[in-house]
Symmetry: C2
DNA sequence: TAGTAAATTTATAATAAGTACAATGTTATT
DNA sequence: AATAACATTGTACTTATTATAAATTTACTA
């Protein structure tokens, strides 16, 4: 039985990406933490395991993953970019109170936009903002 | 017959915003230029008419408009924030080749997301990316 | 298997959008 | 007119991201 490490290595090789230790670890982190981390989150999570890790590597690797469709960039945040592994048909909700980002199912893939006829659509994102149920309840008790 | 300037002044007053010259001009620009400008675009467009204008004022004013739901922030761009007047039920398509941002009609207001039951949704954005028809044609002729 | 070329990582410096803040100017109120 | 509240401005600062070049690792070839 293959380990996750081996699976992720294969995934990189399949995409013609040389499976360096840093790349595997970053990919492993994305697969294990669907919390829409920032580049900084990823760096901080891995620095103890890879003491020589550089932020440049994190940025380079994320860009590489995005180019190869292994990761996705979320622009829901104004200040920092966030990253996620690629999953289809889901949107993101950001709670402006606690900052957490939630996934939700939405089928946008099959929606035909006639105004975009003749356009090549490569990426579809649905971003909602508001206040999550937990924060709404917390406010009620004030 | 009232002028646009007067109309926009009234709009600000209705929202309890003191109608300063800078605010009216920035609102006027947003109404007249649906090109999803950056703060810098707005600053550069108005600096000749308002030589004392400061970028701080542009940022402050845009924040104020957003708080009062007169403008909307687009996070489609990774590098710079873009702004638009508030219009319902439309998404944004960004051409990664020429950079232009297109509006398109999409009815997301009436979509019910059961996973977000109990959440207060304040803002819904649909962002697509890809290559516009014009750029696709241009590439064909290479 | 040593030597070389290519790819990758790293550290540092540079860039630039956005924010904080204090000073100045303007408007409203008494 | 005096004063308080509000708005604008300019400067300095913060910080995410990018650019670059050196160092390191890996792959390739003789």
């Amino acid at each position: 039985m293959k380990s996750l490490f081996q699976d992720l290595t294969s995934l990189l090789v399949q995409n013609n990406i040389r499976p360096s230790y840093q790349r595997i670890k970053i990919l492993e982190y994305l697969h294990g933490h669907h919390i829409h981390p920032t580049a900084d989150d990823i760096f901080n999570a891995l620095i103890s395991e890879i003491p020589t890790l550089s932020k440049s590597t994190v940025y380079n690797t994320l860009d590489l993953f995005i180019s190869n469709n292994l990761a996705r960039l979320l622009s829901i945040e104004d200040t920092e970019a966030r990253y996620d592994i690629v999953m289809n048909n889901h949107g993101h909700f950001k709670c402006v109170s606690c900052g957490e980002i939630f996934n939700f199912d939405i089928d946008i893939e099959n929606t035909v936009i006639k105004e975009l006829d003749g356009f090549s659509i490569k990426d579809k994102n649905v971003y909602f903002k508001g206040i999550c149920a937990k924060c709404l309840q917390a406010n009620t008790h004030e």
